[in-house]
């Protein structure tokens, strides 16, 4: 059976530095950061004060007022991004095609706050007097399910929740569904929302920038000392190429190779060999049908954590050898922060802009070189160039690794 080609036809982004694809792409091209002082909760007890918080987001603009009451913040973010993606793809969801469309979402921390709120009420008010309206939002798959409900999508709905690489793993799951001819189009999403609970968790684990050094997201820079947390949602619509062409959809890019690998090691520690990421990149290349020298740009997972950025550099050199020095590598996390499970989808959304608009987003805040990180990081200023193939890396200290190659649509 001939393997199906899969294409990206729509995109919706609610990012800390831009709402909507055009604003997001513009911000990336200009090197504009969405990282600022947190407004949503009090950070006075933390040494860290910053986050990639979305503070100008009005869900009613995208979703109307009706039904908003039932949507907690993560669902509002994801549903808004989904709405933008559906419109962008010109996809009309109706009785004839609804069973052929699925939803697959990467998210891990998103329900923590809702769960904490429900739990707090149970303890404070007593188990018979909890606010039942909070309960549906306590589950991990709440946001993904709300997308299907709101847009009447009757195909499969799955949430992938495995930390840093969740949204690329969600993409892989969706790709497999299309290749197996079980579905024709999938809304692939990534979402995380910022809350006091996840801020506190990462802070207490010592993962934040500002605890031991300057509070700045500066991937690959020698000053790097931790993440700045970000939030947001991104949704791309991927489709079987035949289906996309049958409805005359605009094709942004082709889904090319993809690889993922779980590298079991110590909890919260990076494997010193970064073998998982290397294997994922090799698998992505092997399944893409293109060679290493065809990669025009690497969208890095580097998040300003000392080990993460060093190991990613090492993994890139391990796979590409000396050719690694010819490939521009940049991290958009310098501008949006570490959005955890949504990170991969933001990188994809940015990379579509790179192909479509012909630029490589910069790694901003880059000032001090580090001998361990010696590749071309597109420091501080975007670079205008033609991009045909992008490698997107996605990994973290949790053991999950993924790599994905996006290629320009024919």
């Amino acid at each position: 059976m001939k393997e199906r080609r899969i294409v990206v036809t729509g995109l919706g982004v609610i990012a800390p530095n831009g709402i909507g694809k055009d604003a997001f792409w513009h911000a990336l091209k200009e090197g504009q950061s969405g990282i600022k002082r947190v407004k949503r909760f009090d950070t006075s007890q933390f040494k860290s004060k910053l986050a990639g918080e979305i503070d100008n987001f009005s869900p009613a603009v995208f979703l109307g007022h009706k039904g908003l009451r039932d949507l907690e913040r993560t669902s509002r973010l994801l549903c808004s991004a989904a709405k933008l993606a559906i419109e962008d793809a010109g996809l009309s969801i109706n009785h004839d095609n609804t069973d052929d469309i699925g939803v697959c979402t990467g998210t891990t921390l998103s329900s923590l706050w809702n769960f904490a709120q429900f739990d707090k009420e149970t303890i404070q008010e007593g188990p018979l007097f909890t606010n039942v309206a909070l309960f549906p939002g306590t589950v991990m798959n709440a946001a993904s399910s709300q997308v299907s409900i709101r847009f009447n999508i009757q195909g499969f709905n799955t949430t992938i929740s495995n930390g840093y690489s969740s949204s690329i793993d969600a993409l892989k799951y969706a790709i497999d569904f299309i290749k197996l001819r079980r579905i024709k189009a999938v809304l692939v999403g990534g979402v995380e929302s910022l809350s006091l609970v996840n801020y506190s968790g990462f802070y207490r684990l010592g993962f934040f920038a500002g605890i031991n050094g300057e509070e700045v997201s500066c991937p690959f820079d020698k000053r790097r000392n931790g993440i700045i947390l970000g939030e947001g949602a991104a949704v791309v619509i991927i489709e079987d190429e035949e289906y996309a062409r049958s409805r005359n959809a605009r094709i942004y890019a082709e889904v090319n190779g993809i690889g993922n690998c779980f590298e079991a090691y110590k909890m919260g520690k990076y494997h010193p060999g970064a073998n998982g990421l290397k294997e994922s990149i090799k698998e992505a290349l092997r399944t893409s049908g293109i060679g290493p020298s065809d990669i025009d740009y690497i969208s890095a997972s580097a998040n300003s954590v000392r080990e993460q950025d060093r190991l990613e550099t090492m993994a890139i050199k391990g796979v590409f050898g000396k050719y690694a020095y010819n490939i521009p590598v940049s991290s958009i996390k310098s501008m949006i922060g570490e959005t955890f499970s949504a990170g991969g989808l933001f990188q994809i959304s940015a990379s579509i802009g790179s192909m479509y608009k012909g630029f490589i987003p910069p790694t901003i805040n880059y000032e001090m070189t580090d001998e361990d990180c010696d590749l071309d990081y597109v420091a501080n200023k975007s670079r205008l160039t033609r991009i045909n193939n992008v490698l997107i890396n996605n990994y973290g200290p949790g053991g999950s690794n993924a790599a994905f190659i996006l290629s320009k649509g024919h």
């Binding site: 007022h65 039904g67 009451r69 008010e125 007097f129 909890t130 606010n131 039942v132 309206a133």
Partner: protein, 83 residues
Amino acid sequence: MSKNYEEEIRNMVSDILEIPAEKLTPDADFFRDLNIDSLKAIEIVAAFEKKYRIIIPEQDIPKIRNLRQVVEYTAPLKKETHI
């Protein structure tokens, strides 16, 4: 039954159902006229229980189908609790 209490109930229910308070007439049937689902019905019941610290027996819930019945049913319970 005080007018204030009726207003309070109307506002609480209209907030949950996301319809303007003036549209919530005393006899509009929640299910037939306002098209609410069972989750919303539970939410209305739970909101009462929480606000007035009362427990509404499950067998009574289907009997409460409009605003008038909500007010008539809950007013005496509220008195009992001396809130």
